[in-house]
């Protein structure tokens, strides 16, 4: 198993850092899946995560100037590593002004992803910094858990309001309740609702627009009909907190009373986050 990558472009390095930082805000550990063309950050939905799952896809060509990998075998030309995205994020943050950054799979006291860079200094010699991020290699027999999640048969698909606005609303609502209902219809309307014994608060969004693939597992569904999912408000807040830049597109798909599927698309990366609904 081998992996070596090099990032030279400062904008690419910046984007990559930001993606990793976003992932770090969503989960403490995840799997980094490396294929010849792509990198994926994967969190498979398990009871331990509260059932949330995440799939982040990056095309390696958008970030790396050099990228070489050799997977576990020629038929299974992939590498799957479990790591703490926070460690990787920290390592990348410190090398933002480097001339180039190398990322490679190494074996130190344990298998590691080593981030190394030369930092500019006033003297003749550059400062060399290396960060060894420990990883755990995921064996092939567990790879079936890391497949791209299939897009569920959703009832409604709708574009999200500006994420910053949504975050402000959710932040305030978190003070009042642990659960929040996200409901939306095919008419571009979305409501965020909380309800407790003492108070109920609803924030209405209109004219959000629905993606062309519309929605509705049944044909001819009533456009005004709301699909809803009641979710743990902290999960939604975590997701919103992690978004650092305005995405190209942000939308969600709702499977009525089952799943809230959030999708964020950037020029060079896409992120999907699945939050299960609770009763």
């Amino acid at each position: 198993m081998k992996f070596r990558g090099k990032i030279i472009d400062i904008a690419c390095l910046n984007h990559f850092s930001r993606v990793v930082t976003t992932i770090a805000k969503l989960t403490k550990t995840c799997v980094l899946r490396l294929t010849p063309d792509n990198l994926f950050f994967v969190l498979s939905g398990k009871v331990a995560n509260g059932g949330v799952s995440m799939w982040c896809e990056l095309s390696q060509g958008n970030f790396f100037d050099e990228y070489q990998m050799e997977g576990v075998s020629s038929e299974d030309n992939e590498i799957c590593l479990e790591l703490s995205p926070e460690n990787l994020s920290r390592a990348l943050k410190t090398v933002q002004n480097a001339k180039s950054v190398k990322v490679k799979l190494t074996k130190k006291h344990c298998p590691c992803v080593t981030v190394s860079a030369e930092l500019p200094t006033l003297s003749s010699v550059s400062r060399v910094v290396t960060h060894d991020v420990p990883v755990e290699v995921i064996p092939r027999r567990l790879w079936h858990e890391l497949k791209e999640p299939s897009v569920p048969d959703f009832h409604v698909s709708i574009y999200l309001p500006p994420l910053k606005t949504m975050k402000n609303v959710v932040d305030r609502m978190k003070n009042l309740s642990n659960f929040l209902v996200v409901e939306a219809n095919l008419n571009g309307e979305m409501n965020l609702k909380i309800e407790t014994d003492l108070v109920s608060v609803t924030t209405h969004f209109k004219d959000l627009g629905n993606p062309p693939w519309g929605g509705g597992s049944e044909g001819g569904a009533d456009p005004e009909g709301m699909a809803e999912a009641r979710v743990d408000i902290r999960r939604l807040q975590q997701f919103l907190m992690g978004q650092q830049v305005t995405p190209t597109k942000a939308m969600c798909n709702i499977v009525h009373q089952r799943i809230l599927h959030l999708v964020v698309l950037h020029d060079d990366a896409s992120l999907q986050y699945f939050i299960p609904a609770v009763a």
Partner: protein, 294 residues
Amino acid sequence: MQCVVTGGNVKVLAKAIHSLSRIGDELYVEPQQDGLALRSVNSSRSAYACFLFAPLFFSRYSLPNGHDFRCKMAIKSVQSVFRSLATLEKTVEKCHIELDEQKNRLTFTLHCKHGLLKTHNLSYQDSESLQAVFDKEGCGNVFRAQPRLLVDTVVHFPPSLEEVSTVCFLLSERSKAMVTELCLASDEFDHFAVHAHNSVTFCLKELRGLLVFAESTGLPISMYFDEPGSPVVLSVTDSVLEGNFVLATLSHDDHSFQKNNTKGFFKASGNLLPGSRKPNWGPDPKVENPCSST
């Protein structure tokens, strides 16, 4: 005892106190002939710091009549006198420190703008003299750097990380085993005399206190170190003050300092200079526990 600190020196004094608070919970105050000594030590006695303010630092400096005086007080109380550094700079014209031995207290009076006087009466306890035994000149290795260099280096290491090594900064967290290594070339330092390929490991947390002080005052930091197990001494000096931070280092056999604090290691390694000689050890350079009460 009467000490009066004026103008910009009030902020320097405040910063020194904040710096000492990163080491221990108590501030040891000892007015001496050669100046006012403020010291602190951590609970496990593996870190010690001392700031000596020469009489010239003060606009007025007088010792207690006829006898040696020393005391210790809760450092948090003293910090509360100098709480907001930004405010200090803007409003405090003078700080008057006065000893009242009958009531066992030190009175800190801040003379601020517009005739405002803020008086803090802080109680103290009698104490033994706190003095670390260390020998800077006897150390085999020394380097001196602008504080910015060390601050830039330490920033690579997360705030929770505990231990640090120099020259080749190697950091590892025991629990998560993330290791960070940063190498600085010798020409980045103002002065670099490292005689042996050495590696010393000491606590990062205590170093940060000194870095904050040095950076704000712009004073270069000198570091003296020897073999693993010998304490490492970090110093800042100018004409009116001298600060020394003495930190214990891991000896070859140690795997951890104390149960709680070991989350990271900072390993110092130096490279052999051409034409170097074995260091002159001097009378008693190897002091494992840097602090002893005299």
